[in-house]
C-alpha cells in the first residue's frame, strides 16, 4: 500500500500519513520498497507480537509472585498478632 493509497482511505492528509509511516519505519513496524515511482509500505507485525508476548508473560509472572508475596507477608503478620 502506498502513502497515497493510505491517505485515500484515512481522514488525514498524505503528508500526515507520510509522517506516521516514517515513525512506524523508525520503529521497525513497516518496511518500504520502491516499485517504479511508488514506495510501497508493508506492515511488520512481528515486533508488536513480540512485545505483546513479553507483556503477557511478564505480567502473568509478576501477578503470581505478588500473590505469593502477599500470602507470605499476611501469614506472618497474622501469626504475630
Amino acid at each position: 500500500m502506498t502513502a497515497s493509497g493510505l491517505a485515500d482511505q484515512l481522514p488525514i492528509t498524505r503528508q500526515a500519513v507520510a509522517k506516521h509511516l516514517s515513525a512506524l519505519r523508525e520503529a521497525d513496524l513497516v518496511t518500504s520498497t520502491r516499485v517504479g515511482r511508488e514506495t510501497r509500505y508493508e506492515l511488520r507485525p512481528q515486533p508488536l507480537d513480540e512485545a505483546a508476548q513479553w507483556i503477557q508473560t511478564v505480567s502473568s509472572e509478576w501477578d503470581d509472585r505478588l500473590d505469593s508475596l502477599r500470602r507470605s507477608i499476611e501469614k506472618r503478620a497474622g501469626r504475630s498478632k
Binding site: 520503529a27 507483556i55 502473568s60
Partner: protein, 152 residues
C-alpha cells in the same frame, strides 16, 4: 511518598514495553520491606533459590529449576523503593522496581519491569528460551496456587 503514574524513567527508549502490577497487602511498609529484601523471605515468593546482597551495587541471583537470572541491586530505599536489574545468561536485561506505599490498614506494593538492554544479537533464541524455560516453573506455581485457592 511518591505515587508512580507514569512510565519508569529507566527505559531503553520510548518503544520498549513495560509491565506494571500491584497488590494490596494487610501489613505495614516495614513488614513488606522485610519480605522484599531478605533472602529467605524472597525464597517464599520470588523463586525457590535466591541470593541477594541488599545494598546498592550488590548482586542478586534468582534460580527456579534450570531458569537462572543474575543482576545488580540499583536502589535501596528502606520501606519505600527497591530496584535491581536482572537477566538470563545471554539474554537482554531488564530493570525491576518495587515501590511500597503506606495505606490505611496496609500497603500497596507495585512492581514495574522494563527491558533496558536487548540481548546480544540472537533475540530469536532468547525468546524461544524464555518460552521453553517458562512452562515448567509456571505450571508448578499454578498447581500450588490452586491448592491455596482450594484451602482458602
Amino acid at each position: 511518598m511518591k505515587l508512580r503514574n507514569e512510565a519508569p524513567a529507566k527505559q531503553a527508549d520510548e518503544k520498549t514495553p513495560w509491565v506494571e502490577r500491584e497488590t494490596l497487602v494487610e501489613a505495614s511498609p516495614d513488614e513488606v520491606w522485610e519480605a522484599l529484601t531478605d533472602e529467605d523471605r524472597l525464597e517464599e515468593w520470588l523463586a525457590p533459590d535466591v541470593e541477594l546482597d541488599p545494598t546498592e551495587g550488590g548482586e542478586i541471583a534468582v534460580r527456579d529449576g534450570d531458569d537462572e537470572r543474575f543482576g545488580t541491586v540499583e536502589t535501596v530505599e528502606e520501606a519505600e523503593r527497591f530496584a535491581f536489574t536482572w537477566s538470563r545468561p545471554g539474554e537482554g536485561e531488564s530493570f525491576v522496581e518495587f515501590t511500597i506505599e503506606a495505606l490505611p490498614g496496609g500497603s500497596r506494593v507495585t512492581v514495574v519491569e522494563t527491558p533496558t538492554r536487548s540481548a546480544p544479537r540472537d533475540t530469536a533464541a532468547g525468546s524461544t528460551a524464555m518460552a521453553a524455560g517458562g512452562w515448567g516453573p509456571r505450571l508448578a506455581r499454578l498447581q500450588r496456587s490452586m491448592r491455596f485457592a482450594l484451602v482458602a
